[in-house]
């Protein structure tokens, strides 16, 4: 089972939208896919119409006193299951801090179902914390959405340095531009300029679109509801690029 995490220290940059749509595309392509909504806000869980509730809460889960299989929920998409969010995830840092080798803990939890899935996608909360460090140790790859702005680029550089310097077995990093509005000059400049500078930046870029935002109303991934929409096609391109770059086949 490969583990891919959508991560950015900032919130509202398109992590959950990417996680949900890429998970739907993976399942469509025959990957047995698990999406773990690690964000206590539970947006991915909400989008799949599942209750944001994990029996026993975060402590039982982190201490591996829960049978992971009993916590999983099938989604409306065949081949895609969800490990829901729970509001107690806001204390996941503390729960991890109370364990030995906290950085390896998320990997061990996922190990319980490693034979049942080809791909796990972790939708991470926006922070840099023990949770994210455990994600970095667990994931084979980080998918990093970037808003086309100068400060985002600086944050991305910080992340690259952190992953290389602090993580024992660093994951691959693939960044992609998100919420791109090509009518804005700055967006165009950053997108066109940065792509050539960093080999980690994917060619696919997700356009800013009210259709992406509508997912919160319709509660269906865009790639399922409107697969021909430019944003859905951009997710499909990103997925294909991720498959090739990360050797997911």
């Amino acid at each position: 089972m490969k583990v891919v995490a959508t991560y950015n220290i900032k919130g509202g940059v398109g992590k959950t939208s990417a996680a949900v749509n890429l998970a739907a595309l993976a399942a469509r392509d025959g990957f047995r896919t698990l999406l773990w909504d690690l964000d206590p806000q539970g947006s991915a869980t909400y989008l799949f119409r599942v209750k944001a509730k994990v029996r026993g809460g975060v402590r039982k889960l982190i201490e591996r006193r829960s049978d992971l299989e009993d916590l999983l929920k099938g989604t409306d998409i065949e081949g895609l299951d969800l490990l829901p969010a729970d509001f107690s995830y806001r204390h996941m840092d503390l729960a991890l801090g109370d364990t030995k080798h906290p950085e390896a803990r998320l990997g061990r939890i996922l190990g319980q179902v490693a034979d049942d899935y080809d791909l796990a996608i972790l939708d991470c909360p926006p922070s840099i914390s023990l949770v994210s460090e455990s994600v970095f140790e667990t994931a084979d790859a980080l998918l990093v959405p970037l808003i086309p702005a100068t400060l985002s680029v600086r944050t991305f550089e910080q992340l690259l340095r952190f992953v290389q310097d602090q993580v024992a077995d660093p994951p691959d990093v693939v960044a992609f531009f998100s919420m791109v509005d090509r009518r804005k000059r700055l967006h165009r400049e950053v997108v066109d300029g940065l792509g050539g500078l960093y080999p980690q930046v994917a060619a696919a870029a997700i356009p800013a679109s009210s259709e992406v935002e509508r997912m919160g109303v319709d509660r269906v991934p865009l790639v399922v509801r409107a697969p021909a929409h430019p944003a859905a096609r951009a997710y499909a391109e990103l997925w294909q690029e991720a498959v090739a770059r990360l050797g997911l086949r």
Binding site: G30, R32, R49, E69, G74, T75, E78, D116, R219
Partner: protein
């Protein structure tokens, strides 16, 4: 893990409106779709025996292999074979990944073959909860045979109810509500389709499994066994000449050897006129199929044979591998010519005429089969004990080869007639015999393989890269020789087990 799907047999009147009356919040989940899929399995139904169902779905760029029964949800992988209709898929042609790995373990050397093609119209349904979330999946299937078997018509309409992970209660309630009104389908779709197409759902077995009673007339027993063995040969024949996979030839040769063995051990059941032609004809068929089988075995064992070759030299063996494949192709072409010859047709017709007789006329045709087979089993066992006891370190290899031949005879006797005696007596004997035969088999196979490889030396030397290949071949031959020596050393232990007093006593008491 979600519950296993439940399948109901339904009539043409059942539609989603009626289901919605029984199960509120049932709705169409996506448009009606049509699918075209081909069921794949080995000739002997290995996937079905493992509870697996493999489909090739779709065509062209979207074609995929879908494996059901290997886990909570189906495994799928893009189709990697030719774009047109599939005629066979060998283990080496399977895709990498979980699906390919799972299949390779089960199919071994057998090819996956298209068994039956089904076109299905599917009406996808779902039951939702108050949040509009799917909690139970259902679909109405209207399958029909397609392709060559299409004339056999439509298959039963069915409603499949499938669980969603984490919503077991909703699934159980849906199944209970439907179960009060509908009957469960007796057969799964693959089995129903295979039966409708006139194919055995479990595949073709090469086992003899002819029920015998000790008091049965020997000629009746022999006729049943020989007819069954002839049937085994005939169902495997097409796969042999098409070179579908190596197991067809293996099973054909086993059927011939068993027939020859039965003829030899029960010769008094038939007349000398019947047996003399038949023994010669069957011996010839075995002879002409031998070289191809020897090379199949060699190529199958090649990965273990090259283990002693240093990694840096393993690439040097390629000219030899190419040569072996060429030799195998030549041997196969010769064999196929023989199997399509007038001589083969005449030999087979003669044998079929012998076994089609209503009664055999040999001097012991009316004897009880239990007495005859028991006597023969005991005699062959005693003969083996005598032969094996005379073998020591100075005995020539031929002594071990002869013992192996007798061992095969005993094995076939036990396979053909052993069912007449209690399994608790026969099984331990078969098991100890198998241990001995495996050792003798290694000893002899390694010798044959060394001879085969040595015989390629001159041609290999003349090939580009042949000199390096010859040097690497030295390691292979050395490894085989060491293995053969080991088999010879292990023989004494295996034979001691086979001939120990307790085993002798079982044989004496059982096969009187």
């Amino acid at each position: 893990m979600p519950r296993r799907p439940v399948v109901f047999a339904v009539g043409p009147e059942l539609d989603e409106r009626r289901i919605a009356r029984w199960l509120p919040r049932t709705e169409r989940s996506s448009p009606v779709r049509s699918s075209d899929r081909t069921l794949l399995d080995t000739f002997d139904g290995r996937l079905r025996h493992e509870g697996l169902v493999l489909w090739r779905r779709g065509r062209g760029a979207t074609a995929a292999l879908v494996l059901e029964g290997a886990g909570p949800s189906p495994l799928s992988s893009p189709w990697v074979g030719p774009a047109g209709a599939v005629d066979r898929l060998l283990a080496g042609e399977l895709p990498d990944g979980v699906l390919g790995t799972r299949l390779r373990v089960v199919v071994g050397e057998r090819a996956l073959l298209p068994r039956v093609r089904i076109r299905t119209r599917t009406v996808p349904l779902r039951v939702c909860n108050g949040d509009g979330k799917t909690v139970v999946r259902m679909w109405i299937e209207e399958p029909a045979l397609a392709g060559r078997a299409a004339a056999n018509g439509a298959l039963g309409r069915r409603l499949v109810v499938s669980g969603v992970l984490g919503y077991d209660g909703e699934f159980d309630r849906a199944v209970a509500a439907l179960g009060r009104r509908l009957q469960r389908a007796e057969l799964g779709l693959p089995d129903e389709a295979l039966e409708a197409a006139g194919l055995p759902p479990g595949g073709f077995s090469s086992a003899v499994d002819v029920p015998l009673e000790p008091g049965m007339r020997a000629d009746h027993a022999m006729a049943s066994i020989c007819r069954r063995l002839a049937g085994v040969l005939e169902v495997n024949f097409a796969g042999v000449v098409a070179d579908t996979d190596p197991e067809f030839l293996h099973d054909l040769r086993v059927a011939i050897r068993r027939s020859r063995s039965a003829l030899k051990d029960m010769r008094a059941v038939l007349t000398p006129e019947d047996t003399s032609h038949a023994r010669e004809d069957l011996r010839w068929i075995q002879e002409v199929t031998g070289p191809t089988r020897d090379l199949d075995v060699l190529l199958h064992e090649w990965p273990s044979m090259v283990e002693p070759v240093p990694a840096a030299m393993s690439g040097d063996l390629q000219p030899l591998v190419d040569l072996l494949h060429k030799e195998r192709q030549t041997a196969f072409s010769t064999m196929r010519r023989h199997l399509r010859s007038r001589r083969y047709v005449a030999a087979w017709d003669r044998w079929k005429a012998v076994i089609a007789q209503p009664a055999f006329q040999g001097p012991e045709a009316g004897h009880p089969i239990g007495d005859m087979a028991g006597r023969r089993i005991r005699a062959v066992y005693d003969g083996m004990v005598k032969m094996g006891s005379a073998i020591d370190e100075s005995s020539p290899p031929e002594a071990l080869h002869d013992l192996r031949k007798r061992g095969k005879e005993l094995r076939y006797l036990l396979e053909l007639f052993g069912g007449m005696w209690p399994a608790e007596h026969v099984k331990p004997l078969v098991s100890t015999l198998k241990g001995l035969q495996d050792e003798l088999g290694h000893f002899q196979d390694d010798e044959i393989q060394v001879k085969e490889l040595r015989s390629l030396g001159p041609e290999l030397a003349a090939a580009p890269g042949g000199t390096d290949s010859l040097i690497a071949l030295g390691f292979v031959v050395e490894g085989l020789t060491a293995r053969q020596n080991q088999a010879r050393q292990d023989f004494a232990r295996r034979f001691a087990d086979f001939s120990r007093p307790a085993t002798r006593q079982i044989v004496r008491r059982t096969f009187r």
